[in-house]
């Protein structure tokens, strides 16, 4: 049982870490000399990486929607962790961890929105380049938060 609790905790914390990396690190799209999105762009000039602004032709509304939803996913996941710990101590016997599940669900939806918008709108016509680790971690975090949500909705508290 302790193993189960540790596993659930670890899953949640892993999801938080992946979300944070995906949000903070500007590495959604790579080329040989560039690592970009969602906040700024790293451009390699003369073997030095320079921190520059994102190009003006980016659709601003979509970019800011990706920024906002990825930040919200992080916030809700972190809040969900505290809610889970709180519910561990205050739930009555036999009840489900719905509150924590709801927070994780919202986080899951938010990161799904962020990653979907990014996939569909940005870099669609660029042949040269590949998706970076932040992008991949965003999708993996979506899966992990989804599993976490299911677990919280199914889990019951055994003894008060």
């Amino acid at each position: 049982m302790l193993v189960l609790l540790a596993g659930i905790f670890l899953l949640h914390i892993t999801a938080i870490i992946l979300l944070l990396v995906a949000t903070i690190d500007n590495a959604w799209w790579f080329t040989d000399t560039m690592s970009t999105d969602v906040w700024a762009r790293w451009v390699k000039i003369n073997n030095f990486w320079n921190y520059t602004d994102l190009p003006g032709h980016y659709p601003q509304e979509y970019l800011q929607a990706v920024q906002a939803t990825s930040v919200l996913a992080c916030i809700f996941s972190i809040l969900g962790l505290f809610v889970f710990v709180g519910q561990l101590f205050t739930l009555a016997k036999g009840q489900r961890f719905t509150f924590s599940g709801i927070f994780q669900l919202i986080a899951c939806l938010c990161i799904m929105i962020a990653a979907s918008i990014y996939t569909d709108i940005f870099h669609k016509d660029e042949k040269y380049g590949w998706y970076g680790h932040s992008f991949i971690l965003a999708w993996i975090a979506f899966v992990l938060t989804f599993i976490s949500t299911i677990i919280y909705f199914v889990l019951r508290k055994k003894t008060a």
């Binding site: 601003q60 800011q64 929607a65 930040v71």
Partner: protein, 261 residues
């Protein structure tokens, strides 16, 4: 202000058990303000305090003239739409009172050009607007020099107005200062400023969350109170004791095996 007076009043200082024998009333003046200081202890500490005050006064008197530079504030960048008007604000900070000979000067340097042209001057209590240059009939003085505000209003903007506007203010005798510049950018469609939508989405969702939590707990509180009132009116004091113990669950460290599917 200045000089020292001896007063043989008896004062009891908090935290010190004996009454202070010679409380010195020492006044020091600097910058035109008189401050009186009462040392809190005996003669040895008094002389230390006097030395410190002397040093501070000397330091301030020597530094004061150098800090008397005028500091001019304008914006950093202004965005405006074609055909609209924009207010370029300029104000300054000066240690002196606002003199009657205060002057404001605006000059304009187009983007890509190295020459700047003077477009506005306020002196002797009167504003002088550009009547020959690119801004003739489009400038208006909307500042209040007595309140240190030298703002101008440019109407009917065009793309050729993109450039840097420099404000220079002088407040005699305080004339040493650095002019400040503001860049004007004219758009046909105002771009969404970085982060506005992001902030709005995050703020709205978090605000909604807080609202939902508050409403949830409020509802719970109201329902519990209603039940409490009903039971009090029905059973009197007996129910009161029961309600109190039911509402609070004893906090215990939960045993380790407490999850199940």
């Amino acid at each position: 202000a200045g000089g020292g007076e001896r007063e043989t009043e008896e004062r009891v200082w908090p935290g010190i058990n004996r009454k202070s024998e010679v409380p010195w009333l020492e006044t020091v003046s600097f910058g035109g303000v008189c401050i009186s200081l009462w040392p809190a202890a005996g003669p040895a500490e008094e002389s230390n305090m006097l030395v410190f005050l002397a040093l501070v006064s000397v330091a301030l008197v020597t530094i004061a003239p150098q800090s008397q530079a005028i500091v001019i504030y304008t914006g950093w960048e202004r965005h405006a739409l074609v055909g609209s008007e924009v207010r370029l604000s300029c104000s300054f900070f000066s240690w002196r009172w606002t003199s009657e000979d205060v002057t404001f000067s605006w000059s304009y340097r187009p983007d890509g050009s190295r020459d700047s042209i003077s477009i506005f001057h306020y002196t002797g209590g009167l504003p002088y607007l550009d009547n020959k240059g690119p801004f003739r009939d489009r400038l208006e003085f909307v500042g209040n020099p007595q309140r240190r505000d030298g703002s101008i209003l440019i109407k009917n903007l065009d793309y050729s107005d993109n450039g840097t506007f420099t404000c220079d203010a002088k407040n005699p005798p305080d004339i040493v200062g650095r002019p400040s510049s503001v860049r004007l950018l004219v758009f046909d469609k105002l771009p969404v400023q970085a982060g506005v939508i992001t902030g709005a989405i995050i703020g709205a969702v978090l605000g909604l969350l807080v609202l939902i939590v508050v409403i949830y707990y409020l509802m719970r509180f109201l329902v519990a109170r209603r039940v409490f009132n009903l039971s009090v009116s029905k059973h009197g004091k007996k129910a009161k004791g029961k309600e109190g113990s039911q509402q609070r669950q004893p906090w215990r460290v939960p045993p380790l095996s407490f999850l199940s599917f």
